[in-house]
């Protein structure tokens, strides 16, 4: 399952990224001069209060949105030169997603939901792969259940299986435990990190949850459109305490 990766190569390089939108009150800067480099196989958490621009950044990194200025290079491909179709093709080949609200197709079974990205990518044995993935997330007994017949935790496990089926280079997770209770949230996080490790996938995780963020190798804090890495040297010595981050949220 593991990708053959070089941990010194960049999975994502962001240079001087800006995003502004025009609102009724005038121009609003959401992201201001963002620079990051994420190595292959790395895991980073982006923390920050609501409205700080975390999700916007995630959208840009995952080639779902277009920046106002700046450059993003995803697995060696500069996004600025791509049109929507090329971006879609890039996403198909290299990235995957996990969402807070699971985003499962509610009329398809667990198995069919997991098969979906593989089928879109033209994978031949999509069904078999999906079964294996569901097996790995402990849902082999729930293959033919519809999302509404599953608990929240189970639905997110289906989403995780779906995220890994195409062996992505980069996995973007948007508050993956946000809709779950602590026990289920922890289970999901365990599963996510375990699979991530096994697959050597680069993980970009957006969260409010410092506890979850701490499980990533790096934590970046987003505030007022600026990104910093306060815990880079020593997480415990950082002047922003976990309580403080929680307060900000």
């Amino acid at each position: 399952m593991s990708n053959n990766i070089d941990r010194n190569t960049s999975a994502i390089t962001v240079t001087n990224l800006n995003k502004t939108v025009v609102t009724q009150e005038g121009e609003l800067t959401i992201l201001n001069g963002i620079n990051i480099e994420v190595k292959q196989g790395d895991s980073i958490a982006i923390l920050g209060p609501s409205g700080s621009g975390k999700s916007t950044l995630l959208g840009l990194l995952a080639a779902l949105d277009t920046p106002t200025s700046g450059e993003i290079v995803l697995d060696g491909v500069a996004l600025s030169g791509l049109n929507e179709e090329q971006k879609a093709a890039l996403r198909k080949q290299k990235v995957s997603f996990i969402f807070q609200s699971f985003m499962l197709v509610d009329t398809l079974t667990a198995l069919e939901n997991v098969m979906l990205p593989a089928e879109l990518a033209g994978v031949k044995d999509a069904k078999q792969k999906a079964q294996t993935m569901l097996n790995r997330v402990g849902l082999s007994h729930r293959l033919n259940h519809l999302p509404k017949q599953l608990s929240g935790g189970e639905q997110q496990r289906v989403a995780i299986a779906r995220a890994f089926i195409c062996e992505p280079k980069v996995l973007f997770a948007d508050e993956p435990t946000g809709n779950l209770d602590i026990v289920n949230g922890d289970k999901i996080a365990d599963m996510l990190f375990a699979l991530n490790q096994e697959s050597d996938t680069t993980l970009v995780l957006v969260t409010h949850d410092l506890h979850l963020a701490k499980r990533c190798a790096r934590q970046l804090v987003m505030e007022n459109g600026h990104l910093s890495e306060p815990y880079a040297d020593n997480l415990k010595a950082a002047h922003v305490s976990a309580e403080h981050v929680e307060e900000v949220n």
Binding site: A88, K92, M103, T107, L120
Partner: protein, 827 residues
């Protein structure tokens, strides 16, 4: 791969009931088109078939001279069956008795349609050579001789005719009919150059042959030759059939429009439900092409299922209706091709045109929606959607009805509704700002709800109102048409005509009729005369005009003129005043139009070689369909006093009525007595024809009721589709209100009021549009009297409020009974 995903989505969504609405909407559109087209074609073929029995053919060319052989060659080339007949008046002799008869000399193959009814049963045979069949009146007049002399021939009288299929309806054809073979005519030596004779060429064939024949043969005819079909003018059935056909067309058209509205709403719902799926698929890298193929296939499957179910339903509908039809109608089975093709194209066109805009929006959903749920991407104006929908409706309408007037009326009505709704939408948004969300007063809560959902409500109102408009239009037209027919053919429509009533017989006849409790129409004096000049300009004949003569073409035959002081019943004065001065004449509007006669014109007539002039004082509209004596020209008694006249009248008589009046005699016995007492009066029995007419009208009424039922079904579907569409947002709002402490009672009442207000507004709009549509339809298509339906203005808004409120609260009942957490979770 996309095919597999599309099929899987289709299968699952179908099983989970998510596609019911859109499939049902397409099914209904296809079902109503296929079913109604089939039923109406069956009725049309049957009605025309039954009616062509009236003229014993599908088409007749009526000519004073032998027809150009080219016309018959055309008929032969097209494969039409045809037969040549001749008709002329002549004297027949039997011993010392003689009688003027109408000789009908028929060719082999007569009658092409219908049967000859003899006194001893129905036959398809013809008299043998040297034989003549006689109308029963003639037998009585001549004392039932074995043979008669006609010109140089002696013919044996072998059979008594009860009714000829093309006996037609002309109360002035007072001489009895003698039926002989065409090849016996020459031997009689009666027909000489210049003899007055009518050639009747009868044709029959299928619809395409007849259309081609009409196109090729009509230009070959001259002015003195008349083209006759079942629907041409004078036939009393013609206008009934035409109106019924148009009504069926219109009703189906409106049915389609409704089903299309349902498809439109359902398609929008369908697309909205897939916004997240598309965003997710795009996020996972699906290309634009993959999404297009996937949803194209998905929607095609939905459409195909709808079409298949619709065709099945349409055929079942046809079978169901046929079971209720009388066997002679049910026996007609026109080909399935057109109804099926119409159904399939309706399904395809409506599904794709109505879902084009929602689908475009669906495909344009940005992948970023997975993170920002409010994103909807493409915001093309609603005008595009409306334009596409209107185009689809107009295209379907025209395809189906092939009538521009009908199609335009529907399109104009839709435009009016759209205009009213946009005004209303503007008013609601502009003036509703002051209304807050007080959670204590259900009325204010309802108003706030209405304002908040102004845009959505405008869309919902389209559905509610169009359903109501269609219902009202169909109801009103159906009622008007039935009333109109009922008026023409009341239960006591005359079934006997009396003609050739000598002036001295008028009084004794009146006495006889009242003694037998018979209510006859007025007795109309009849004077035969010819119109020779208009404003001193001599009128020319059609033949003269054809030969290059200049001038106004008159009526090249003698007219039946009458006189009376008062306007006859069933006549409507259009212009002027009815016969005030002695030299006034009242002219029928059709003939006035044809001859270019206007009020004040001086008309000169020749009666018994005497010439006299009168002034046009009024123009009348005559309902030719009524079985009453009707006249082109009505004079004052003074004007026609100098001339000899006979009279005519008509009355209704049946056994039941006689029995009710305490008479011991049957209708036949009374008529026999009448004949014996007044041997010179001719009695024409039109009972069979009246019966036939009534039967046709009954059949048409049945189809009208059926159409009404279908429209009701379509309306219900639109209403359900409408409430369905607003459920999701409503649920969220209810959840919030509940959370903030609104009581169940408050929510139920405010929801009820909100729906009731919507229903009332829809009702009001519907009345306005329905009155407009009815005005257009009655003036442009149906030629019916226009009047306002005042009670509707009160009833419809109330009924709309009640129906929509009940439906809305019923739809929301689950939501209203849920707890907060259930609601929030479900949302």
């Amino acid at each position: 791969m996309e095919w597999q995903i599309a099929w899987r989505l289709f299968k699952r969504e179908l099983a989970q009931g998510q596609l019911i609405l859109i499939v049902l909407a397409i099914t209904l559109a296809v079902l109503s088109v296929t079913g109604l087209a089939r039923v109406s074609e069956r009725l049309q073929v049957a009605i025309n078939g039954e009616a062509s029995n009236f003229i014993a053919a599908d088409r007749i060319i009526d000519s004073p001279v032998e027809l150009d052989s080219q016309v018959l060659t055309v008929a032969d080339e097209l494969g039409l069956a045809h037969v040549t007949n001749m008709q002329f008046n002549s004297m027949v002799y039997s011993g010392d008795k003689f009688q003027l008869v109408t000789v009908k000399a028929v060719g082999e193959g007569y009658p092409l349609k219908g049967d000859i009814e003899l006194s001893n049963g129905v036959t398809r045979a013809l008299p043998s050579k040297g034989q003549a069949w006689f109308e029963n009146r003639l037998g009585g007049l001549l004392g039932y001789p074995k043979s008669i002399e006609l010109g140089n021939s002696e013919l044996s009288l072998t059979e008594e005719i009860s009714r000829l299929p093309d006996a037609g309806f002309n109360p002035f054809a007072s001489s009895p009919v003698l039926l002989i073979r065409l090849d016996d005519v020459a031997a009689t030596g009666i027909i000489q150059p210049g003899s007055r004779v009518t050639y009747l060429y009868q044709f029959t064939g299928n619809a395409e042959q007849l259309t081609a024949f009409e196109l090729q043969a009509k230009p070959l005819l001259n002015n003195s030759q008349r083209w006759v079909d079942v629907q041409s003018g004078d036939s009393p059935i013609a206008s009934a059939v035409q109106r019924a056909e148009r009504f069926l067309l219109l009703a189906s058209l409106l049915g389609i429009a409704l089903a299309c509205a349902a498809i439109g709403i359902a398609a929008q719902r369908y697309c909205q439900r897939h916004y997240d799926v598309v965003a997710m698929l795009k996020t996972f890298g699906a290309s634009g092409k993959q999404i297009r193929v996937l949803f194209g296939l998905h929607l095609s499957l939905v459409t195909l299922l709808g079409i298949a179910l619709g065709l099945l339903g349409g055929l079942l509908l046809d079978i169901g209706i046929t079971a209720f039809l009388p066997p002679e109608i049910a026996a007609y089975s026109p080909p399935y091709l057109r109804p099926v093709l119409l159904g399939v194209s309706t399904g395809l066109i409506s599904a794709f045109m109505f879902s084009a805009y929602p689908l475009m929006r669906l495909l344009a959903i940005p992948p970023l929606r997975v993170l920002q749920r409010q994103l909807e991407g493409l915001q093309l104006g609603m005008w595009l959607h409306l334009l596409l929908s209107l185009a689809a409706m107009a295209l379907l309408g025209y395809l189906y009805s092939r009538s521009l007037a009908l199609t335009m009326t529907v399109v104009l009505a839709v435009l009016l509704l759209g205009f009213l709704l946009s005004v209303l939408g503007f008013v609601m948004i502009r003036f509703g700002h002051g209304i807050g969300m007080k959670t204590t007063n259900p009325f204010q809560l309802a108003l706030a709800g209405l304002r908040r959902r102004a845009r959505q409500n405008a869309v919902q109102l389209v559905g509610f109102s169009s359903a109501l408009v269609l219902l009202l239009t169909i109801l009103a037209l159906r009622q008007d048409l039935l009333n109109e027919w009922q008026k023409q053919l009341p239960e006591n429509a005359p079934n006997y005509f009396l003609v050739n009533i000598a002036p001295e017989d008028a009084k004794p006849l009146n006495d006889f009729l009242s003694l037998n409790h018979i209510n006859a129409t007025d007795i109309y004096p009849v004077v035969r005369g010819r119109l020779t000049h208009i404003n001193d300009e001599e009128l020319i004949s059609g033949k003269q005009a054809e030969n290059g003569a200049e001038g106004r073409v008159g009526i090249s035959r003698e007219l039946n003129l009458t006189y009376r002081d008062t306007l006859p019943p069933n006549n409507k004065l259009l212009e002027g005043k009815f016969n005030q001065a002695a030299d006034d004449v009242s002219v029928e509007s059709g003939v006035a139009d044809r001859l270019g006669i206007i009020l004040g014109d001086k008309l000169t007539y020749s009666i018994d070689n005497q010439s006299f002039s009168v002034k046009v004082a009024s123009i009348r509209q005559v309902q030719w369909e009524t079985l009453q004596p009707n006249f082109y020209m009505i004079f004052t008694p003074e004007a026609l006093a100098p001339f000899a006249y006979t009279s005519m009248a008509s009355f209704h008589l049946n056994d039941a009525q006689l029995a009710a009046d305490g008479s011991l005699l049957s209708a036949n016995q009374v008529v026999l007595q009448l004949i014996q007492q007044f041997p010179t009066i001719s009695i024409i029995d039109v009972g069979a024809m009246v019966e036939q007419l009534r039967q046709i009208i009954d059949q048409v009424s049945l189809s009208l009721s059926l159409v009404l039922a279908l429209v009701l079904l379509a309306s219900a579907l639109v209403l359900i589709a409408q409430t369905e569409a607003g459920m999701a947002t409503r649920q969220r709002e209810l959840a919030v209100l509940r959370t903030f402490g609104a009581s169940g009672w408050l929510l139920r009442v405010s929801t009820g009021i909100e729906f009731a207000l919507l229903g009332a507004i829809a009702g009001l709009l519907a009345v306005i549009v329905a009155e407009f549509a009815l005005y257009m339809l009655k003036t442009q298509v149906f030629e019916l009297v226009v009047y306002m339906h005042w009670p509707w203005w009160a009833i419809t808004p109330v009924a709309g409020a009640v129906i929509v409120a009940i439906l809305g609260v019923w739809r929301c009942r689950q939501l209203l009974n849920m707890s907060c957490s259930e609601m929030l979770k479900a949302g």
